[in-house]
Structure formats: structure tokens, C-alpha cells
Amino acid sequence: MIEVTGLYKSFGENKVLDDITSSFEEGKTSLIIGASGSGKSTLARCLVGLVAPDEGGVLFDGRDFLGMTGKERRGMLKEVGFLFQGSALFDFMTVEENIRFPLDMLTKMSTDEKAERVQFVLDRVELKDAHKLFPSELSGGMKKRVGIARAIAPNPKYLFCDEPNSGLDPQTSIVIDNLIHEITQESNITTVVITHDMNSVIEVGDYIMFLHQGKNWWEGDNKSILKTENQEVLDFVYASEFMKKIKA
């Protein structure tokens, strides 16, 4: 479980996070939704220490992450998988090397075990034959999937995915959503997914936080979000004609 209390972050005059309090439970897929620029990525980056919040606390199963020393943090980050919005694959490594890298760094697996694990996660993101390709040879959606494979390869306890299905076709998108949902349940991971995809929200949203004006504006799950009366959430959810029709 990850608990966030009273988190604030501003960039100069720009107040991005304004008193965020929430908790993300293990075995559940928690979603952070909100308009572009609402601070979703910034929130995720604050949670793992890539951005230093101005104020607030983050507890990983009771461990005070922000209060840790650099060394303690590095130790804890070994339990974290993170998919970046731009994938952040290492350019100078092939797909295979990218996925094996965290295994080299974080685990004591043998070479064979690593090879097996790489194959396993590549299969799960439906990229069977991409081993030897470099990131520059992949499409945007393929990069995303390699990024997910790399994030889940070392069996993290905490998984963060920043827009895992932006740039994917609807079918692959569902495959990825289901994959994240499944491994979250199978391995009892605390998973936080940032998305603006309403499909994902409905399919896998065990918990949903709606960020608006830097605040935790609304929270609930994929059932309650369809019944809410909150105007800003309604505007977000029923932005498309398609969703409006579903409602009607």
C-alpha cells in the first residue's frame, strides 16, 4: 500500500499539486485521471522521488520514503517498476538488453533465468521477435510495450505506469490494460496507472483519483464514476459523443 498525505508541489508560480492525500492498495489497479497538464505525471514522479515535493509524506507500506537517505531510497526503489510517459528506453541497448538491465542490476538471477524472464515478459506484451531491435527501430506503441516489459521484469512490489496505452491501437490497448490488471492481482502489486483512456477506466479501475486544479477532486471506482454527479468528472468522462450515447 502506498499512502500519500498532504502533498504540495509548485514550479515557480505554477501550483501543480495542492494538498493531495490518498492511498493506493495492493492487488488493486489504481488510476490517476485528469486533463492534460493537471499534474498526473508530476504526482507519480513525486511519489518515487524523481521530483522533490514542497511538502507532504509518502509511505510505502509504512516506510517513510521521503525521509530516507539516498542509499535507503535506492534500496527501496529496487522494489519499484516505472513506465515513463515517453518510455525512456536506453538508446544504446537492444530491446532484450533493456529488459535484462534491471534484472542485472536488481536480481541475482542466473543468465538462463534472465533469458527466460525476458522471453516471458516479451511474450506477455505481445512482442515475441523484437529481441535484437534497438529502440530507434520500434514504433511508439512498441516502445511503450517494451517499457512495460522492462518495468515488470524484476517482479516489482510497486508498479507505476504513465499512460501505458497512449499510442496503442484499441485491441493492443485492452491487452495491455488486462496484463497490468492481471499481474497486479496475481502478484499482489500496488499498481498506479496514469491514463486518460476511458476504456481503461471502465475496464480496470479498481480505484480512480480525478486530479483537477492540483487537487484530489474526486475519488471512487469504475462503477461509481458512471453515477457521479460531480460536474468536472462528468465533463471529463462524457467528453466524447460515444460516452454520451452510452449514458443515454
Binding site: 535506492r74 529496487k78 510517459q85 525512456a88 542485472d104 542490476m105
Partner: protein, 247 residues
Amino acid sequence: MASFLYHLGRYALLIWRVFSKPEKVSIYRKRLFDEMVTLGLDSLGIIMIISLFMGAVITIQTSANIDSALIPAYTIGFTARQSTILEFSPTIMALILAGKIGSNIASEIGLMRVTEQIDALEIMGVNSGSYLILPKILAAVVINPFLVVISMFVSIGGGYMIAQFTDIVSVPDYVYGIQFDFRPFHVNYALIKSVIFAFIFTSIPAYQGYYASGSALEVGKASTRGVVFSSIVILIANYVITQLVLI
């Protein structure tokens, strides 16, 4: 001034982190080897071409500027050797490499910064500064003295070619000149410089790249700053070392 101190402090902190104990030595070993190969092989060609012409030009220049019968002909070879060993090979080569390797390092690391690859390393609990920068600094510090020695030989060889193929100076005079009053200490002095300069032209561009932010445009600027600052620092360091060691 405040900004200078800010950068100096942040640079020192980065270097501190770069040299803190690495987590997995085996991974560094491979990266160090790769960097040494790239650095050595990729720079060898340009070093040799520049050194060859440099040696030839110093020889011609020296003879053109000495037209007194009182000065012995071997002075040409002697001067060519001294300027090559003391300044041209260690210092000019460092400036060339600051341009070539420095810009490369700054843009490579800068691009990794703006595409969040450095963040990805940090998330994996990897000391990104050490992982990315340490192999580059060590590789340069180890390889640069070899490049400088090669440059010395090629440059003096360039002068020899002038002696051989023109009548500016005779071969025996040149050969006598390059052996005249040879002090091994001067080579050591050049090697010390080559190590210090290698540290400068890798660590400063690495710092610029590591703290690049924003876009590819910023990476370009970081790369330029890396080259300019490392060149200036090399020249200042050269002055200081010369004062300390030779006087």
C-alpha cells in the same frame, strides 16, 4: 559569481557521486572497456592526421624563423621536438578532443536526461552519475596518455618527412636535433597534463549534459557549453601546471 559558485558546487557534488562506490562492478567493467575502445579507436585517426601536419608545420616555421648562421641547424629538430612534447601533443590534442569527445559526451548524456533515461536509471536504484560518467572519465584518463605519446611520435615523424623530402633541414641535422638534450622529465610532464586534461574534457561536458533540461535545443546548448568551458579550463590548467612544474 553566485552562479559560478553554484555550478562549481554542483559539479563537485556530481563528481563526488560519480566516484562513489559502484553497485555492480561487473557491469562497469564492460562499459569501461567499451568506452576505451570507442575513445581510443575513434580518436586515433584525427590525432594522427593533425599531429603529422603539426610536426611538419612546426619544422618549417622554425627554420623559416631562424636565418642566422650563428644558430646551429640542429636547433630546428630540437625546437620541433620540444614544442611537440611540451605543448602541442598534450595541450592542442586535449583541445581537439574537448571538441570531439566533449561534445559527444555532453549530447549523449543530455539526450538521456531529456528523454528520462537518467530517471529510469535512478528508478532502478542505479547511481546514474556513476554508471554513465565514471566509465567515460576513466577511459579517457587511461587512453589519453597513449594518444598523446602517439601524437608525439607522429608529429616528430612529420618533421622528419620535411627533412627527408625538402631541403629545409638535412636529415642528420634533424635527427641530431630531436635527440639533443633530451629530458625524460618533459615527457612525464606531458603525461601528467594528458591525464588532467582528459579528466577535464570528459567531466565538464558530462556535467553539462547531466544537468541539461527541457528539449533537444537545450542539449545542443549544453554540448556547446561543454566544449567551450572544458577548453577554457584546459588552458587555465595548462598555465597553472606549467607554472608549478616547469619553473
